[in-house]
Amino acid sequence: MVSDKVLLEVKHLQKSFGDKTIFKDLSLTVRQGEVIVLVGPSGCGKSTFLRCLNGLEDYEHGEVFLDGKAIPGEQKSWYQVRQKIGMVFQSYDLFPHMTVLDNILLGPLKVQKRTKEEVLQQAQNLLERVGLWDRRNDYPSQLSGGQKQRIAIVRALCMNPEIMLFDEVTASLDPEMVREVLDVMLELAKAGMTMIIVTHEMNFAKAVADRVIFLDDGGIVEENTAEQFFTTPKTERAKKFLDIFNFKE
């Protein structure tokens, strides 16, 4: 499934808020079709790292390459890049004044200037896949959290991104709704989508990840396959971290 082609490359990224360094010298290579899960204690910079990859945060040093091309740090170039990098947030953030369908169509029609028939067809396919086609004319306030999050995923997918970023997408969901969202993500992974996922759902991480990256203290502490990371982690710190989650089999 994972090809040899490098899709996204991050080199020596550094980010700080004021005097507080969030991470320094962070490097990561993501191949096409690969699913990477970022784990680590709260405040270790996982979310900030994802936001840097989508230009929502500036960074002081380092470079990001997409498809082998460097992304210049200025804001302007991000408009192009963001069409290729989809992102889903913890707080769903559907646009409350638009119907489900309008939420999904906005980007493809206004940013990518695609034709309505074509986008509508794709939106229907995607919505049917997540089981929400019949809710297409509802407003976000009429949907449950799990439904909103599935719509948010569809909204990002409809832009035909090359890579998807998931920032703790189940963290504000009620437990019974977590499953429906994770299932959508698992299916996406099976279909070969390249993904970087920040999550606290360790069972899900184990099931979905090709590679697990453990971040702490502003750097990568451990990089491992999912299988090995959750059974025999290489580092003490990862072991301690997993103990807190009581994740032992």
Partner: protein, 231 residues
């Protein structure tokens, strides 16, 4: 007493005869309000945008303007424009003065209404718009403004009614608005009850439908979970 007042004191012939005067005056009140409110909205939008995008220099100008506009009465603004400026050869028509005055006053109120709306749009909405590749202009047009306007509707509506009411002051610079006609009738015939009753009725004819329309709109918006009532 009310019955006696209504059936014996009131001169209904007088009221009927004065209707055309009031209709004409109402026209002027509405025309002045229309332009005053329209320009207020335009000025308010410009000020709110300058503030939102933190445009240097202009930002300070807007700030100073808002403070002056909000802390001085319309009547004094009008006197200054109409009687004060003429001394230096700036000869403004009464109507022009009234519209400038209303705009000067209303602009800051509209700016404030829109600003509070813009503030209410959550930062994550902006990020989520950016993440699907919207440009700043598209973000403003499709995501931020629609939500900001919905939130601003109650204060916006209050401002429209406020400005309509404020036009009553323009009689002081010799414009023949509703207030002016009522004053005239009182002065000429001393028919105060009739003149004032007509005045109240005229304002109710203008303001009641607007007030009802706005509360209906507000209710509709709230159904979609947009906009929260202001204080």
């Amino acid at each position: 007493m009310v019955a006696r007042f209504l059936f014996e004191v009131m001169d209904y012939q007088f009221i009927v005869n004065s209707i055309p005067l009031y209709v004409k005056a109402m026209e002027l009140t509405l025309i002045l309000s229309f332009w005053g409110i329209l320009f207020s909205i335009v000025l308010g939008c410009i000020c709110a945008m300058v503030d939102y995008f933190k445009i240097p220099v202009l930002k300070t100008v807007v700030k100073v303007y808002v403070e002056i506009s909000r802390n001085t009465p319309l009547l004094i603004q009008l006197f200054f424009l109409y009687y004060g400026l003429t001394q230096f050869g700036v000869r403004l028509e009464g109507e022009t003065c009234a519209i400038i005055g209303l705009t000067f006053l209303g602009g800051s109120y509209m700016a404030e209404a829109l600003r509070s709306g813009l503030d209410a749009v959550h930062k994550t909405q902006v990020e989520s718009g950016l993440s699907i590749g919207l440009t700043n202009w598209q973000l403003m047009r499709y995501i931020i403004l629609p939500q900001a306007c919905a939130v601003a509707v109650p204060s916006f509506a209050a401002n429209v009614i406020f400005l309509l009411k404020e036009t009553s002051v323009v009689s002081a610079i010799a414009l023949a608005d509703l207030m002016f006609v009522a004053k005239d009738l009182i002065g000429m015939y001393y028919r105060t009850s009739e003149a004032l009753l007509m005045l109240v009725v005229a304002y109710l004819i203008i303001l009641l439908p607007i007030s009802i329309l706005f509360s209906y709109l507000e209710g509709r918006l709230r159904q979609h979970g947009l906009g929260s009532g202001n204080i």
